[in-house]
Amino acid sequence: MNPWLRGLIYAVVVTNVFLTITAWSIWFERKFSGRMQSRLGPTFYGPMGLLQPVVDGIKLIQKEFLIPINADRLLFVIAPPLTVVLALGTAAVVPFGADIIAADLDIGVLYLLALGSLTIIPVWMSGWSSNNKYAMLGAMRAVAQGVSYEIPLVLASLVPVILAGSMSLSDIVRFQIKHGWFAFWPPGPGFFAFLFFLPASLAEANRIPFDIPEAESELIAGVSTEYTGMGFGLLYLAEYLHTLVISAVASVLFFGGWDGPFAPGLHWMVLKTLGLFAGIFWVRWSLVRFRSDQLMSICWRYLVPGGLILVMSAGLWVHFHRGGG
């Protein structure tokens, strides 16, 4: 098959699948949080409120996209689509099965991290162009947080890369199928790397307890304060998309991706991703948030030195266990 055609088909499929999963993950989160808070969650549209995302989408599309009079129009308009594009772009290299992968890059992890760190730029664009003090404070926090947490995220992701000896995500999974999941084997670096990866990636995706850029009790809605209609919808969608991709990447890097008995690989991959996703929701709906400076000190005092130690220990394990690799 023509590689361009193949790429196009995969792009369409990945985009649609991820957007659909994301839309219904919003339903899932609302239902989940509802049950946590002894409420029912959405019930009106469809059985168990399953059509709620559709209705939400229609509502957001119908609403006027207001541009504040003093806003930087160009930046204000392109920022929300850009966040979604970047979040979807990261989805391209995530393998959902032995052959189900849009682009099996040799440098998958690098690509993922690079694109992930780019997401700060549209956030800053939206915050700055809104010409709103709350949005700007939120954007400032987002950039500070994004830049800081990039480092522990990279360090934690390096551990599976070192252990597997490859930057390709599917190679990492194949290595885990052969030698055991990195979260459990080798004991130590892999598991702790997961423990570091999760908060760092939560901070990248601006989820509680690291959601200070849009801390709605302080900054109204942070960067999305001035956005209405689909502009807000896209920013909202990108956040969920980002979280979903993070869960998928975490399950690939630390939980063996599509590896699992009895069922086809795709099932296992989806199961692991949604399990981690639900775990992130659980954290979100049970914790209060940090203050921005505390967030920074957690990153620079604990996560960065700890990450360096983890990378070193992974290197040592590879060196001694496999006789110099």
Binding site: S38, K133, L137, P209, S217, S292
Partner: protein, 400 residues
């Protein structure tokens, strides 16, 4: 984690009259209007914050966005008509408002309240305190954790528990919120049959769930990081500004009207006053949690021992002009969940003396807000929200 520098600096008292001219006009000092429409200003409070980056340099609080002219209204309506109006002042603890008002009128008119009515009033006051503090806990969690996060989970739980007390009140008065159950000289609604069982059930449910909430919020590490050493209101500052209630007690001053100037039947029961010394957000929260427990204990003590006897000093009043005072003045104060809620009234106003000549509400929340310019400088915007949540202002009573 030890104290970060700017929080440690904030322990020194800031000067609220700081002249901003001393700042370099070229420097990036940003003015941020926190409120009046803001998710965490508890209504329509406005804080004008001068920010250096995210650190607050100067604070100017503005009140009055919810001004409804209640004190002026008091000069036009008659005393009997005023009681339901006062439910709307501190809309989180309406019982306290009614009680302070009728106590002032009773003092003005020289009416002795029967013992049974005083017991019922004490009971209602303590139940109301539990409900009010539960609402505070939920709102505080929401300020710290956001409406779309862990904070709202605790908020929902607290509202569920508060609902139990509102149900109990509904059984007694027929209303869930604006009760109008107090009359000059007694209470309007007698305790219905089987009410004590319901109260016991509600109190037990709340008590069994309190440890859960403490695990959820009060003992959580993130919560401690956010509140310890933040917004210190020491006892001296509290006394200088006339702050009362949990904020004063959290600063180490052992003062509670229920024990120090007993009203109702507080002279017949022992109130164990909870205090703390740190004066920060954590201490204020700890004092309030202890007060919930103490109120639960008091309710248990009171509910089975309501004495027999009449519920009012006279027959229920039918007409607005029934109570008249041509002269005199009186002050009565109750310990509301927010502090000393006092009513000063001068008799002999309109309607041939059936209206007060002048009525002044001493609202504890207003005094508490006065501390913000002193304690907020040096903190960040996030801390401002946490401090505002921890002092628990109710704008309905601040602005009247």
């Amino acid at each position: 984690m030890e104290m970060i520098p700017h929080v440690a600096k904030a322990r020194r008292r800031a000067n609220p009259y700081l002249d901003l001219g001393s700042y370099d006009p070229e420097a990036d000092l940003m003015v941020l209007n926190l409120g009046p429409q803001h998710p965490s200003t508890h209504g329509v409070f406005r804080l004008k914050l001068y920010l250096d980056g995210e650190i607050i340099v100067k604070v100017v609080p503005f009140v009055g966005y919810l001004h409804r002219g209640v004190e002026k209204l008091c000069e036009k309506l008659t005393m009997v008509q005023l009681i339901p109006i006062f439910d709307k002042n501190d809309y989180v603890s309406p019982m306290m408002n009614e009680q302070s008002l009728v106590m002032a009128f009773e003092a003005l008119l020289g009416i002795e309240v029967p013992r049974r009515a005083r017991y019922v009033r004490t009971l209602l006051a303590e139940l109301q305190r539990i409900a009010s503090h539960l609402l505070w806990l939920g709102a505080f969690a929401m300020d710290l954790g956001g409406a779309l996060g862990g904070g709202s989970t605790l908020f929902m739980y607290c509202f569920r528990e508060r609902e139990l007390i509102l149900d109990v009140f509904e059984d007694l008065t027929g209303c869930r919120f604006h009760y109008n159950t107090h009359m000059i000289g007694g209470n309007r609604h007698d305790v219905p049959a089987g009410w004590a069982t319901k109260v016991h059930a509600a109190i037990n449910a709340i008590e069994t769930r309190l440890p859960e909430y403490e695990t959820f919020l009060i003992t959580n590490d993130i919560y401690i990081e956010r509140t310890r050493g933040v917004g210190v209101v020491d006892g001296q500052l509290s006394m200088d500004l006339g702050i009362t209630g949990p904020v004063l007690r959290a600063g180490g001053v052992d003062h509670d009207l229920r024990r120090d100037a007993p009203y109702h039947c507080y002279d017949e029961i022992e109130v164990r006053v909870a205090t703390a010394t740190a004066g920060d957000c954590e201490a204020r929260a700890a004092v309030r949690m202890a007060e919930i427990r103490e109120s639960i204990r008091l309710v248990r003590e009171l509910i089975d021992n309501i004495p027999e006897g009449p519920l009012g000093a006279r027959k229920p009043i039918k007409t607005p002009l029934a109570e008249k005072a041509t002269q005199g003045h009186a002050y009565a104060a109750v310990e509301s969940p927010r502090g000393e809620l006092g009513i000063y009234v001068i008799g002999g106003g309109d309607n041939k003396g059936a209206s007060p000549y002048r009525l002044k509400i001493r609202a504890p929340s207003l005094h508490v807000l006065g501390c913000l310019p002193y304690i907020l400088p040096g903190h960040s915007v996030s801390d401002a929200v946490a401090v505002l949540g921890s002092v628990d202002p109710i704008m309905g009573e601040v602005d009247r």
